[in-house]
């Protein structure tokens, strides 16, 4: 009788432990994978209607409320990313540096917006570098030449700021704050931004 009880107890212990270990593993894997999945899904949602491919910047306003164009020639994309800042003009680039580095050339809008930055995100959504207008201004730069390369790869390009990505793929966002984009002043700032250079090529 006692032997039978012991056997049953052991069997239950085994199955309960197995279930808990599996539950913990599934949970950890899903939580770990979630940012990667969301990054890929959101990137597809932004890139597909923009008609631009990987390693190119979009010229689209990602705003989140409605789809009507805010400035002629600049489509607005609604309801894509949650909790978007309505005061941003965003230029978006999905990068892939698995095979070659990415060269980025940008004009920095000085004194026309309250805030401007270029930020780099790894595939898991970590924000591994930001360069803002004050950083550029402190170095006296109105143009930025950046080379993005996979961390651990030995590559140098004379005169470029070298940026090392922790993952093969990721996201680059150029944010410019335009309060009151519907005002005449806001529209002019947006037109000015469209004239500025934001290029990425391999």
């Amino acid at each position: 009788m006692r032997q039978k009880l012991d056997k049953t107890w052991k069997r239950w212990t085994f199955w309960v432990s197995l279930t808990l270990i599996l539950a913990f593993s599934f949970n950890t894997i899903s939580i770990w994978a979630l940012p990667y999945v969301i990054t890929d899904e959101m990137s597809d949602d932004i890139l597909e209607p923009s008609g631009v491919s990987v390693n190119q910047f979009t010229r689209r306003v990602i705003r989140g409320a409605v789809d009507e164009p805010v400035v002629e020639g600049v489509p607005t994309q609604g309801d894509v990313v949650v909790m978007t800042c309505p005061d941003h003009f965003i230029q978006f680039c999905r990068y892939d540096v698995s095979e070659k580095p990415l060269h980025i050339h940008l004009s920095v809008p000085v004194e026309i917006a309250p805030y401007w930055s270029i930020s780099f995100y790894a595939h898991n959504t970590d924000n591994f570098l930001v360069i803002n207008d004050l950083d550029a201004k402190s170095k006296g730069l109105t143009e930025l030449n950046i080379t993005l390369v996979r961390r651990g790869v030995s590559y140098e390009r004379q005169g470029d700021e070298m940026v090392y990505s922790p993952s093969d793929v990721g996201i680059i966002l150029i944010r410019t704050i335009i309060p009151d984009r519907y005002s005449a002043e806001g529209q002019e700032v947006m037109r000015e931004l469209l004239r500025l250079r934001a290029e990425a090529r391999q």
Binding site: A23, R63, N132
Partner: protein
């Protein structure tokens, strides 16, 4: 055969438990509880950071995808008023504050994590465009949160007759502090943030 059946049951239960755990992690209430509180506002200094845990990263990817790291922006979120009551469409609110310790700041209202379409195209107020109570050189301001037109700084909660303006869903305010002053990074829980007051 019995072992295969037991294994399948074990995997099934494990999967359900894992989903429950995932829900607990990404639940918006947990997001607020896990952060730093300052009155009705909650924040996390780990948003966007490479030092964040996988749990923090998962939450940020859902509620604030591609957030900037703390020296660039601090994000405060409020889903309740200053008395701790959930923000509710059936009430009007006043948000009272003064100039905030950052290079630039804005306050935005969302419904179910998205902006609320409205005829005024007004989704936020910021350091640049807010009207101060005591004129251009003033320091204090008031924002009115309501579905009915208001004088001054009015953040519309949407037209209640339109489909998108259904009076349901989770209301949420986000306060963004761009290039915050050092005191914000040192004392994110005690700096003076705007009050959110429900009008009776």
């Amino acid at each position: 055969m019995r072992t295969v059946f037991k294994t399948l049951i074990s995997v099934g239960i494990a999967f359900i438990l894992a989903l429950g755990g995932l829900w607990c992690t990404i639940n918006p209430q947990r997001y607020e509880e896990s952060g730093i509180k300052n009155g009705p506002w909650a924040t996390s200094l780990e948003a966007g950071s490479e030092e964040g845990s996988i749990y923090q990263r998962a939450r940020v990817s859902i509620y604030g995808l591609w957030a900037l790291e703390k020296s660039e922006v601090i994000y405060y979120v409020a889903t309740t008023d200053s008395d701790g009551m959930n923000l509710d469409y059936n009430y009007n609110y006043t948000i009272e504050g003064k100039d905030l310790p950052a290079r630039w700041w804005s306050i935005t209202v969302y419904k179910d994590l998205y902006l609320i379409p409205n005829e005024k195209n007004r989704y936020s107020y910021s350091k640049t465009n807010i009207l101060y109570n005591d004129g251009k050189n003033g320091t204090t301001w008031t924002i009115r949160l309501s579905s009915k037109p208001q004088e001054g700084n009015w953040l519309p909660l949407g037209d209640k007759n339109s489909t998108s303006g259904k009076r349901e869903g989770i209301l949420c305010l986000t306060l963004r502090l761009y290039n915050p002053d050092p005191e914000v990074l040192k004392h994110p829980d005690t700096i003076q943030l705007p009050y959110i007051i429900r009008e009776e």
